[in-house]
Amino acid sequence: MSIEKQTIENLATLARLEIDDQRVEEISQRLGSVLELVDQLQAADTNNLMDNSHAPQATQRLREDKVTESDQRDAFQAIAPDTEDGLYLVPKVID
């Protein structure tokens, strides 16, 4: 099983990953073999089953709505690629 080039390009856009043309073939093959594996799921009889997204069936807790964290902007921005006046810098988005 292999996946169409168009599908790979669409996935790359959704996942924000640059994929060179020469890698598409290999990625298509490898994704295809993984999808063949996971297609075994389709044979399982799961009628009337709840899905189980949290294994030990725990309930989510709520906490009091109060501030517990101190301001650590300087520490966090010290490791950022590019900042200015306390803001993260990215390429220009609006002209």
Binding site: T7, I8, L11, A12, L14, A15, R16, L17, E18, I19, I27, R30, L31, S33, V34, L35, E36, L37, V38, D39, Q40, L41, Q42, A44, T46, L49, M50, D51, N52, S53, H54, A55, P56, A58, Q60, R61, R63, Q72, A75, F76, A78, I79, A80, P81, D82, Y88, V90, P91, K92, V93
Partner: protein, 485 residues
């Protein structure tokens, strides 16, 4: 000194046989001398370790009773460490120095342990061989042409090579148990929610769980006492008292009912591995345990379900790596889209990109129900298999992996061949159950692991059973050639 267990080191420190500074320097010098052959440590924190050991010695002189005071450990490079690079085995985080400690790291500091450094791992914990690390593969100390297992291969290899007496690790589909098995050490993945995930780089959040690695079950109990805690900062952490895991290690296991799943002894299991595991089960019978054949009929669906759920969660978790707030950023982006796309293509390795794409596929419009929804239902089937089994037995045992450590490159081109390495370990993650691996034999001079699976929060019983096995066998005391002296 490096052949002492943590338990023996604690005794030696208390009785002033040696100081923490001496032990710490000894292990640091072993890492510097021996690790170039194994590549198990990414970052050595020598200066910090020596300073921490000096303080520990002062505490010990005052009669400090912090349980791990002065004991050196290594942390898997997935746990954030304040001021120390946390790479997660990826180029994406090669320059990432967290401004805070993970809860697990903080717990170790509070217990008085000394961090020697950070261990190598598969990139973002995605792998079963350590071949996906940006820093190069870890070599198995038992056979350096073979993999140490993964993703916690650095922690496992370091313990096997006596570079540290204990280490932290994480397990999403087998990443503690499989490398523990392949490196001949003891490792435990606790029940989901037992150990805080806060500050641990996320791979698949509903499966990830941190746990200890050491040479013995007795040492794993000591480390788990320190790692397990209730943590407000992880909303999936379970608010439940932490028992003293060391308290019942010496209990008799007479009458213990051990379930043997027939699906774990089927096609694909190496004959030597099967023999070693069956001989170990016979040891348990000799100690008075009762072996009961059970069935976990949906075992075969665990790998397919995992390779939907784990990549789906990973694709969401790894979307945070975008070159804006920390980590790698590409040069000269022409616009924001280009910044994201090239940063991620340059920062992530092949396997990580592959899993992001699979996860994106399974979550995309039109495929969600057929893949993600279906996999979650299969997960429920797998959980029910275990629930039914634990009505009849106290623990489940079988092999940790299908065969001993394989050679580098031998599963290279087919990701599915690598994924099947985790066939016996993945289902416990899907069910959220605790599992452990302990050394139980040798095949072609390579270690074999016995897996113990317990019911929810039954880690103490698993550790008791493992400790009793280690009282009548000596597999856990064996060392790779050239390491013991």
């Amino acid at each position: 000194m490096h052949n002492f267990t943590i338990t023996q080191l604690i005794d030696g420190l208390k009785n002033r046989v040696f100081s923490s500074t001496e032990i710490t320097q000894h292990f640091l010098s072993r890492i510097k001398t021996l690790d170039p052959a194994f590549n198990s440590v990414i970052t050595l924190t020598e200066g910090q370790a020596i300073e921490a050991a000096r303080l520990a010695d002062q505490q010990l002189a005052k009669g400090d009773s912090a349980p791990l005071c002065g004991i050196p450990v290594l942390h898997k490079d997935i746990f954030c460490t304040n001021g120390v690079r946390t790479s997660c085995g990826s180029k994406m985080l090669d320059n990432f120095v967290p401004p805070y400690d993970a809860t697990v790291v903080e717990n170790f500091k509070n217990s008085g342990a000394i961090m020697l450094g950070k261990t190598n791992m598969d990139e973002f914990a995605m792998g079963s061989s350590n071949e996906t690390s940006f820093y190069g593969p870890v070599k198995n100390p038992w056979a350096t042409n073979s993999v140490p297992g993964g993703s916690s291969g650095g922690s496992a290899a370091a313990i096997a090579a006596r570079l540290a007496p204990g280490a932290t690790a994480t397990d999403t589909g087998g990443s503690i148990r499989q490398p523990a098995a392949l490196c001949g050490i003891t490792g435990l993945k606790p029940t989901y929610g037992r150990v805080s995930r806060w500050g641990m780089v996320a791979f698949a959040s509903s499966l990830d769980q941190a746990g200890p690695m050491a040479r013995t079950a007795e040492d794993c109990a000591l480390l788990l006492n320190c790692m397990a805690s209730y943590d407000n900062k992880d909303s999936t952490c379970v608010d439940r008292p932490v028992p003293n895991y060391s308290a019942n290690l010496g209990d008799s296991i007479k009458g213990l009912r051990i379930g043997i799943p027939k699906e774990y002894f089927s096609e694909g299991l190496n004959a030597g591995t099967e023999k070693a595991v069956r001989e170990s089960l016979a040891e348990y019978e000799k100690m008075g345990a009762e072996l009961v054949e059970i069935s976990l009929p949906n075992t075969g669906l665990s790998v397919p379900a995992y390779y939907v759920i784990a990549p789906a969660e990973a694709s969401a978790n790894l979307s945070r790596f975008d070159g804006v707030k920390y980590g790698h950023r590409c040069d000269n982006p022409k616009d924001l889209e280009d910044l994201y796309r090239r940063t991620r293509a340059e920062g992530f390795g092949d396997e990580v990109q592959r899993r992001i794409l699979i996860g994106t596929y399974c979550l995309s419009a039109g495929y969600y129900d057929a893949y993600y929804g279906k996999a979650q239902q299969v997960r429920e089937l797998i959980r029910q298999d275990f629930t039914q089994a634990f009505e009849k037995v106290d623990l489940i045992m079988g092999p940790t992996c299908p065969s001993p450590a394989f050679e580098f490159g031998s599963k290279g081109n087919d990701p599915v061949a690598m994924y099947l390495e985790d066939i016996y370990t993945i289902s416990t993650n899907l069910a959220g159950l605790p599992g452990m691996s302990l050394p139980c034999g040798m095949v072609d001079k390579k270690p074999v692991g016995l897996q113990i699976i317990g019911n929810y929060f039954d880690e103490a019983r698993m550790l008791n059973a493992a400790h009793q096995f280690q009282q009548v066998t000596d597999w856990h005391t064996q060392a790779p050639e050239g390491i013991e002296s």
